[in-house]
Symmetry: C2
Subunit: 254 residues, 2 copies
Amino acid sequence: MLDFQTQAQATAALWQPRTSRRTSTPKSDERYSTLQELKTLLQYEDHQHNDNQGDLFRRRRLKEGQSALMMGQPFDGLYVVRLGTLKSLITNADGGMHVLSFPMKGNLLGFDGIYKNSYMSDVVALTDCDLIRIPASELFSSQRNNNHLEHMAYWASSREITQEQMAYSLTRSVRSEARVARFLQSMSQRFASLGYSPNRFILPMTRRDIGHHLSVTVETVSRAFSALVQLGIITVYFREINILSHDALCSFDK
Amino acid sequence: MLDFQTQAQATAALWQPRTSRRTSTPKSDERYSTLQELKTLLQYEDHQHNDNQGDLFRRRRLKEGQSALMMGQPFDGLYVVRLGTLKSLITNADGGMHVLSFPMKGNLLGFDGIYKNSYMSDVVALTDCDLIRIPASELFSSQRNNNHLEHMAYWASSREITQEQMAYSLTRSVRSEARVARFLQSMSQRFASLGYSPNRFILPMTRRDIGHHLSVTVETVSRAFSALVQLGIITVYFREINILSHDALCSFDK
DNA sequence: CGCGCGTTTGAACGGGCTCAAACCTTGTGG
DNA sequence: CCACAAGGTTTGAGCCCGTTCAAACGCGCG
């Protein structure tokens, strides 16, 4: 069906290594980010006066497969994704899991840990990642005048919740193919908002993860991809997705 | 199957009128709540020093069927449920809807409206309700020293998110009967935490609402109820639920 | 190289949806 | 007081879609 060889050659330049090569990342090795970088990442327009501009926030590197947060771990702050992609999931008592979201650059992690002072979901790096930590101590210090920091975190949390709810409702479409179609649209939009191509991208997650996100099995995800390929709407080479017709993809989710 | 007449008589005392009679509520007609009442409702243990105890928060009465919040409406604050039950839902572009939660006494509403300054979901009263409003102006005023108010709201939001995620994952069980069983357990626990009987309660929502919450059809919900009745785990008389064996109900969700 | 994992495809089963009908309750108006 | 309408609930019959089980292939890693 797919000509793997020629496809692979044609798209070799697009392929991102799943593990960092450790040879090409000496350029931004600072270990701290400024408040301004945080605001830019979150796309937070502060109508407030700028204070505490001198604050620095420690970064945290993660290798593919490492846990950013673990369920039950004591809350020690929020994290903003600076680089990479992760998956946020909750595991049921009987082993059944659900992937809540796939956080990427600009997304906020850990806001479910404020209640009960411990995180309520696992977050695992799908690729090498770079996070920025907002310590709990700074967040909630009523002493210093960084009320703005808490407000920004609050605002960003609200956005994450909103988008999670949207994704939630997207899942609810009856047909599984429609769910997959909407998932691809969502990924396309997210890549576009990060400056990448909305038509051509590499999915950072496995079919199994997508299935656990959309509440279908691996096989169903795979079959949905194949169906979309058959209809000429997309092309698929493993994790590389090529959207041929956004209109067709839109009209597909009924 | 069910002997409606005798059942109705036996449980007449339990039945709550869906619309208030307007004859029995002259006792708490104050139109304002204190900060202390808010904290009690939210079960917020403040380790902080108590200030601004003089603040009063305006209440808002809702009749059954009225909207508490509407999607797209400009954000004007958060609300805490003082009395009654509501449903929070998002409506898809194609009319498909999903019920996110059924807020009851002590739950927080509107935290999805902070991002974009407009609410992202509809909230409708299932029974007559009494809400307490936390105005946006007080929430975010960096002038006054009510940082604690914002922190409390933040904390409560985190709790709501957490519980929504839990409910979300509960939905994920494959069998629809297990979803209904878990839903009943969840309602039982909520009623118990409010001081009502965990074994015997009136569901405030329709089968359709339950279906839209669990992502199944009305008929499936009804059939699941019937199946649980057949097994002797519960009895059902319309919206009145009687849990005969919590253990059986627990073991039923696989 | 061989093993494990991710992906794809097929075949058959079964559970939930759709369509349909009946019953009960509640509210409205004659 | 009764007739009627509208909506909530229950149950049945048939069908379709997604799951389950199974097999095959490619890739990356030891």
